[in-house]
């Protein structure tokens, strides 16, 4: 009797428990099936069209992103000149005639204008007198949204080997969406193979970078120091040893590379391009605080109720409220700091340029002297090469020192010293008695 009732009780309990478990499992499965059958909710604003991978025509992307695209269109006409830059295509040679002496014998002494906004990239590269019939296709590497597609289709080696004029027939779009964005996901990506290779050489993979890092790294698709390697004119960033100017010069020295030979000093010269990325990331104060290029040059703006990153890439000095005001409360004060930093850099750069010209003249005079000490003359030429590349690393960089004030002044100080050493070595090579008696 007792045994019977216990076993009956036990079996009832098992039945009840099993029922609960089955009901719970069924409802769980039901919920999962219900959730799975729900339409996938669109995130944010649904896109109007699908963009083909590597689509070179930015106006097609613009259908989905009217705000970004309409601000991007402003880069065609945003030609305001700031104190030391901006986007007005004024002649740098007229603004500072010393450049004609410093770049003598090189195309930069003939035509060297301030660059305009992104949408003018093709007009500008086709108008410059620096381009001639021998110019390789490599020069288009940073000028067009056709590039990612062409690189995939014909390969980088072929792209760079093709003459500028021939390659130009396939290039119809200026810089655009496809240069920085992956279609549809709109993720920021590295598109320039030279950047990918340069990062690889340093053991870095951009695919592991954060969104904030990418907001600086995509600018390095173009705003960097580069050269055309070998006979194939293969686009290469000289970053193997590092991105500081000393490391870059060491790289070039090892490669025995020269851009041209200076006709007055006879030195094998290097020309710096536009090392904004290298300068900014050399531990500048804004970089160390986690600020990206886009934070200042493409500030987050509002149009009606919509908020987006302005694609009218320009000098932050033209929109200080949006660019500086996100972090700094006293805008008048910080803009005044920019002026102080840029004025200082310009003044020191004047000193450096005078020293470089003195060095060039001294070497020229020494070389024309009879019985010149050839060892000392070679040394003087080597010093001129190094000094001018260091100066140019600051001069060709588009911020008049602001991207990294301490680094700019550090480089200019060393450059001035090297230029004066070059001058001294040249005077000694010529056997100037005055110098010798003074030591």
């Amino acid at each position: 009797m007792t045994e019977n009732s216990t076993s009956r009780k036990g079996s009832t309990l098992v039945w009840i428990l099993s029922a609960i478990i089955i009901i719970l499992a069924a409802s769980l499965a039901g919920i999962l099936i219900y959730l799975k059958s729900q339409p996938k909710p669109a995130r944010g604003i649904p896109p109007i069209t699908q963009i083909q991978s590597l689509e070179p025509d930015s106006s097609k992307w613009g259908v989905n992103f009217p705000n970004q695209y309409s601000t991007f269109l402003l880069t065609k006409s945003n030609d305001t000149r700031t104190t030391y830059g901006g986007s007005e295509p004024y002649s740098k040679l007229k603004a500072d005639p010393r450049l004609v002496v410093l770049f003598a014998g090189y195309s930069f002494s003939i035509d060297y204008n301030e660059e305009q906004g992104h949408l003018n990239s093709l007009t500008d590269v086709r108008a410059t007198k620096r381009v001639n019939e021998k110019t390789p296709g490599t020069c288009y590497s940073c000028k067009s949204a056709n590039n990612p597609q062409l690189w995939e289709k014909m390969g980088v080696i072929e792209f760079d080997k093709t003459p500028f004029s021939v390659l130009g027939m396939q290039i119809t779009n200026p810089i655009g969406c496809a240069d920085c964005h992956e279609a549809n996901s709109m993720k920021l990506i590295v598109t320039n193979p030279a950047l990918e290779e340069a990062l690889e050489a340093q053991g870095k993979d951009w695919r592991s970078f954060t969104r904030q890092e990418m907001r600086t790294v995509v600018c390095a698709n173009c705003h960097v120091e580069y050269y055309f390697k070998g006979d194939g004119k293969y686009l290469t960033f000289p970053w193997e040893k590092g991105t500081k100017i000393e490391e870059i010069i060491t790289y070039y020295d090892k490669d025995n590379f020269k851009d041209w030979e200076h006709p007055d000093s006879g030195a094998a010269m290097l020309k710096a391009q536009h090392p904004e990325y290298e300068t900014y990331t050399a531990d500048s104060t804004h970089y160390k605080a986690g600020v990206s290029c886009a934070d200042c040059h493409m500030p987050y703006t509002r149009d009606g109720a919509a908020k987006f990153s302005s694609h009218n890439v320009q000098s932050p000095l033209l929109e200080t409220e949006a660019s500086c005001g996100q972090c700094h409360t006293n805008i008048e004060y910080v803009v005044d700091r920019v002026k102080t930093i840029q004025d200082d850099t310009r003044n020191i750069m004047d000193v450096t340029e005078n020293a470089l010209i003195a060095a060039i003249e001294a070497i020229k005079t020494a070389a024309a002297t009879e019985n010149v000490d050839l060892d000392l003359l070679t040394e003087a030429r080597g010093l001129h090469r190094q000094a001018q590349m260091m100066w140019d690393f600051v001069a060709a960089e588009n911020s008049m020192g602001f991207h990294n004030p301490t680094e700019a002044l550090r480089i200019l100080a060393i450059s001035t010293d090297l230029a004066r050493q070059a001058q001294l070595a040249a005077i000694q090579a010529a056997g100037n008695s005055e110098i010798e008696s003074s030591d």
């Binding site: 944010g44 649904p46 996901s185 709109m186 969104r211 605080a289 986690g290 987050y300 109720a305 908020k307």
Partner: protein
Amino acid sequence: MAFIAVIGVGLVASDFTAYLGNNSSTCNNCHVMDNDYEGWYHAGHKQWTTCNDCHTPHSFIPKYWVKATSGYHHVTTFLFRKIPVAIRAKESSRKVVQKNCKRCHETTIINLDRGLVYGLDDSERYCFDCHRNAAHGDRGLSILPFQHTEKNE
């Protein structure tokens, strides 16, 4: 023991553990947070604060109490489709944020409390009654058709 293991595995597998951490992308799992997330991402506070730095208390027990209660609130609102058109902070949430403003900006506030700049009545007001754009920038919509996270995914 087995029960705890099953629960533990379940929590990790369902990514529930993400909700115990401080990553701002986690708060942006829900679409309704897109605007707030993007606003914060592009504003000056991003360099120093995550969502939790302002929106949850900082001592251990109050922090997880707030996470638990607001988590419960968010889940039920979501499940029963009771999401308000305009999401506004509750009074208790506003108190949490206010405490956190003070936590970092204490030295600035010392002056205010002495009435050097503001009147005595103002000491009862919230910082963000006036400084509305401080953490999320201007009010507005993120017009992106996709979710961004701190990782470039």
